[in-house]
Symmetry: C2
Subunit: 91 residues, 2 copies
C-alpha cells in the first residue's frame, strides 16, 4: 500500500491521532497525510511532531501545504474562509 | 534587502500581522518569515493565507518548516515541548 491515507484532525485528544498515524505506518503505508482546518491546525502540527520524534524512527515531514477553504455555516448560511493544512509524513 | 524578516505571531488580531507582512514586502523585502508556537500556529497559517490571497499578488508560500521547541515554564520550572512553525513567504 503506497497511496496516501488522510487523517482528519478534529476534537479528539492528540494521542488518538498519533496512534492512528502509527497504525497506518505499521500496516505498511509509506506515507500518511494529516489534514486539519482552522483551530485544529495547531493540533495537526503537534500530531506530526510527536509521531516523528517520539515514536516513528525513519519517518519525517515530506511536504506541508496550506490552503484556504470556503465553509458554509449550517446555521446562518454564510460562507467563511477557513485556512487548512496538509502535512505529508513519509519514510 | 533580501535577508528574511521574522514576524512572530502572538495574541494580536490577525490583520495586525497581515499588515506587518505587507509593510515588509512594500519596503522592498523579497521574503518574509512568519513564526509561531503552540496555539498561534493556526493564526500563522491564517496570516499567510490572507496575505497571499487577498493583498499581495505575486507572493506565495515558498517553504514551511515545523519543529519542536522546549519551553521552560516560569511558574513551575517544568520543561514542555511546544510545536512551532515557520512559513516562508516570497516573491
Amino acid at each position: 500500500m503506497s497511496e496516501p491515507n488522510p487523517i482528519f484532525i478534529g476534537k479528539k485528544p492528540v494521542m488518538n491521532y498519533v496512534l492512528a498515524c502509527l497504525t497506518l505506518f505499521q500496516n505498511g503505508s509509506d506515507s500518511v497525510i494529516i489534514k486539519a482546518r482552522g483551530r485544529a491546525i495547531s493540533k495537526a502540527v503537534d500530531v506530526a511532531q510527536i509521531t516523528i520524534r517520539r515514536f516513528a524512527t525513519g519517518i519525517g515531514v515530506k511536504k506541508i501545504n496550506t490552503d484556504t477553504e470556503q465553509v458554509k455555516s449550517n446555521k446562518t448560511g454564510s460562507v467563511n474562509n477557513v485556512s487548512s493544512i496538509e502535512i505529508h509524513l513519509g519514510r
